[in-house]
């Protein structure tokens, strides 16, 4: 007996749950032959609002976890990603990558996550410092998470770029709302499924899929958002984002990497890249002498 075809329904990942889009809209994900291999949810303005709310309430659970625990959770996510490497490679092939390139991207994504996991309990030592001051004080500057980070990921490379942006923001203790474009939707949903089984607190990471330019304004103007990082947006969208973000003095970073540049570990795991996702706090403490 022939089986009924079961194709994947990619949903949004918001607050640890998998809702469909509030709008009910979906888009098909097709392979190079034009066959529909999955249907993914198209996130609406209201979905983006829900995601920011979820990130806001998921923030404390992630930010206040010890750096060591955050590192362990991210390392576990890397393990889970490794375990599903074949499925992810297949998903990347479906959307156009060659077999070798797909496998290579998944491996790079696992390694990237391990590297960023390692930064969790080390970044403070690199970015923080003790300041020399005139007076009987110890004066320290320490990096702290900014809060809710919105990341627009690019269509290429679908998995590696998303893992890099989410991982970097997570490693310093932020909550994340990632928005993947339709071309990268399948990989984004699978990455969400990986994080969902990795002890990441509900809401600490939220993944939306859909047309990014529809979400630039609601996310850019949302006053709960601390930083917006754009890697997949065109020039006019970036401009719109800057204007939108100006009102609440949100930071906007544009990531310059395209294509193979995302494979550069030196650049993508540099503490100066992670620095974009921290606020610095300076403490004065009376000293004995």
């Amino acid at each position: 007996m022939s089986r009924l075809e079961v194709i994947k329904t990619g949903k949004l990942w918001i607050g640890g749950k998998w809702p469909r889009s509030e709008s009910g809209a979906t888009f098909p994900v097709c392979n190079p032959q034009g066959e529909v291999v999955a249907r993914c949810a198209s996130a609406s303005r209201k979905d983006s609002r829900e995601a920011v709310e979820a990130a806001r309430s998921g923030l404390s659970g992630w930010r206040d976890a010890t750096a060591t625990l955050r590192g362990q959770v991210m390392y576990r996510a890397a393990e889970m990603l490794e375990g599903r490497a074949a499925e992810l490679a297949e998903a990347l092939q479906v959307t156009g990558a060659g077999a070798a390139a797909a496998r290579q991207e998944v491996e790079a994504a696992v390694d990237r996550l391990v590297m960023l996991a390692g930064w969790c309990d080390k970044i403070h030592q690199v970015l923080g410092c003790q300041n020399s001051v005139a007076g009987p004080y110890h004066c320290f500057t320490i990096p702290q998470p900014c809060g809710v980070i919105v990341a627009f990921s690019p269509p290429e490379p679908p998995l590696l770029s998303l893992v890099t942006l989410v991982g970097a923001a997570m490693s310093v203790g932020n909550a994340v709302v990632a928005v993947a474009p339709p071309q990268a939707a399948l990989a984004a949903v699978l990455f969400g499924e990986v994080l969902a089984v990795s002890d990441v607190p509900a809401g600490a990471v939220n993944i939306l899929t859909g047309t990014q330019k529809d979400l630039v304004e609601p996310l850019g103007t949302h006053r709960e958002v601390a930083v917006v990082v754009s890697a997949g947006l065109g020039k006019s969208e970036r401009m719109k984002l800057r204007n939108a973000a100006a009102d609440g003095i949100r930071r906007v970073h544009a990531v310059p990497w395209t294509g193979a540049a995302w494979g550069d570990d030196q650049e993508t795991c540099s503490p100066w890249f992670l620095e974009q996702f921290v606020e610095f706090k300076t403490l004065w403490h009376p000293s004995a002498t």
């Binding site: 609601p218 006053r223 939108a244 609440g248």
Partner: protein, 295 residues
Amino acid sequence: MLAQRAASFTKRSIKAESKRAGLRLAVSMVDLTTLEGADSPELVRALCRRAISPCPTPLDPPVPSVAAVCIYPRLVPIVREALAGSSVRVASVATGFPSGQAPLEMRLQDTQAAIEAGADEIDMVISRGAFLAGRFDEVADEVRAVQEVCGDAHLKVILETGELETPDNIRRCADLVIDAASRDRAVQDGEVFVKTSTGKMSPAATMPSVLLLLESVRDHFNATGVRIGVKPAGGIRRAKAALHLLVMVRETVGQDWLTPDLFRIGASSLLDDLVRQLLWTSRGCYAAMHDVAVT
């Protein structure tokens, strides 16, 4: 049927001007509540400032003040002073809140103390144990005794619908309380409220339980012409839920009840969400929690 009817009120589309009007109305109906063991005079004063002007950003037209601040009796003098000169009323819980398990004498003293301290409104709890055991007269006598002590102060009677187990019980209890309160005296419109819950347990103000109270109030009005108020309280945190309630009021008891004199919403964090939604409708960008003063 009940659940279906209650759910039908959540399907209405309320947009633009109606939404703004609904949100403002909801703000004006809030009984801003804090009933924690840790409540301090400072916290309560801050709450009163929010009650008087809920939105830190000036909007046009301005966001109205809430209806009342609801606190424990000991804090009444502080709230009285903080709210002086404003339209916000002082509501105090009493009668051994939240369980109502103190002896009647102490519960009446509790009420007396709150009244003497200057409470405009008393939120009393009934003996749910007595009601569930079928001692209806005992519940009715209690309500009348507290009403006696209240004098001119308005009385809100908390049924704690979450403990009454069945919809039949909720309706019977509402009828019993309304009947007891208006049996031997001429009750003015809005002088007596029925209130769903203490907010100390869950489920609290579910849509079906509020609908039961509204229906009881409607039937009483049809029979006597007296308007009893209704106050859902507990678990109402989102602006959307408040708008659903307003729709239910409008379609069950009618336009007359869409005033803070006859309908209140007991809540604490709801006000934050209402103000955030109002900011969204006027500014076009989503507000952060720190944009609305959080107490």
